[in-house]
Amino acid sequence: MKIRLKLVGIQEMEQLIGGREIVLQMEGSTFGDLLSHLEETYGRPLMKCLHCQILRNGKEWIRRDNLTYPLQDGDHVTFLQMMGGG
């Protein structure tokens, strides 16, 4: 399955994957599979950068712990550095 991954405001992660946007080919069909693919490809340091929010196709909000969230071939998945506080 082909996924277009876009990073917004996550410089550490950009350095690890070598850019703000990549197209990746992965096995599986869920958000959890995408995370596994990223960990296998770029290693654990990448996972430490993931204090972020995730959008599918710019609209659907994927919760970080919703590992069974289904993805489809050609989806655009955006990781945004979280903006929050108290």
Binding site: V8, G9, H51, L55, T78, Q81, M82, M83, G85, G86
Partner: protein, 133 residues
């Protein structure tokens, strides 16, 4: 130092008042520390002690900034009941150390206090705000 046009400054304080008793949040953008535009963003937490920017709106802000070739200068939010100083949560979730954090305190209803900070890994620095007429 951050320079904010008076109209944007007033609108930001008004945004905080409109959202009271909940926290408001938004982004100030511009060039070289001079704010040109403010984006009000929905607080997904709907809370008086926390904020989390809507990721959809956050993405739109980043896309517009890219299109208009402007930078993020500050992230602002309100403290409806506490002073204008970063909370523990603000420090914990300060993932944009290169931009200032503007906090609007409405602790004193008639006297909003607006301050800017830079939240570093080891210290919090006060940053000057200049309001341009």
């Amino acid at each position: 130092m951050i320079r904010i046009p008076q109209l944007i400054y007033q609108r930001m304080v008004q945004h905080a008042r409109e959202q009271w008793p909940l926290e408001c949040c938004g982004v100030l953008c511009g060039k070289d520390g001079i704010v040109k535009k403010a984006y009000e963003v929905q607080n997904e937490e709907g809370s008086s002690v926390r904020y989390l920017m809507s990721p959809r709106e956050q993405l739109k802000v980043f896309e517009e900034m890219e299109k208009e070739s402007i930078d993020m200068i500050a992230i602002y939010h309100s403290h409806p009941h506490t002073i204008s100083f970063p909370s523990e949560t603000d420090v914990k979730l300060a993932f944009y150390p290169e931009v200032a954090s503007v906090i609007i305190s409405l602790k004193e209803e008639r006297n909003p206090v607006v301050k800017a900070f830079r939240i570093g890994k080891e210290a919090i620095y006060l940053e000057e705000i200049v309001v341009d007429p």
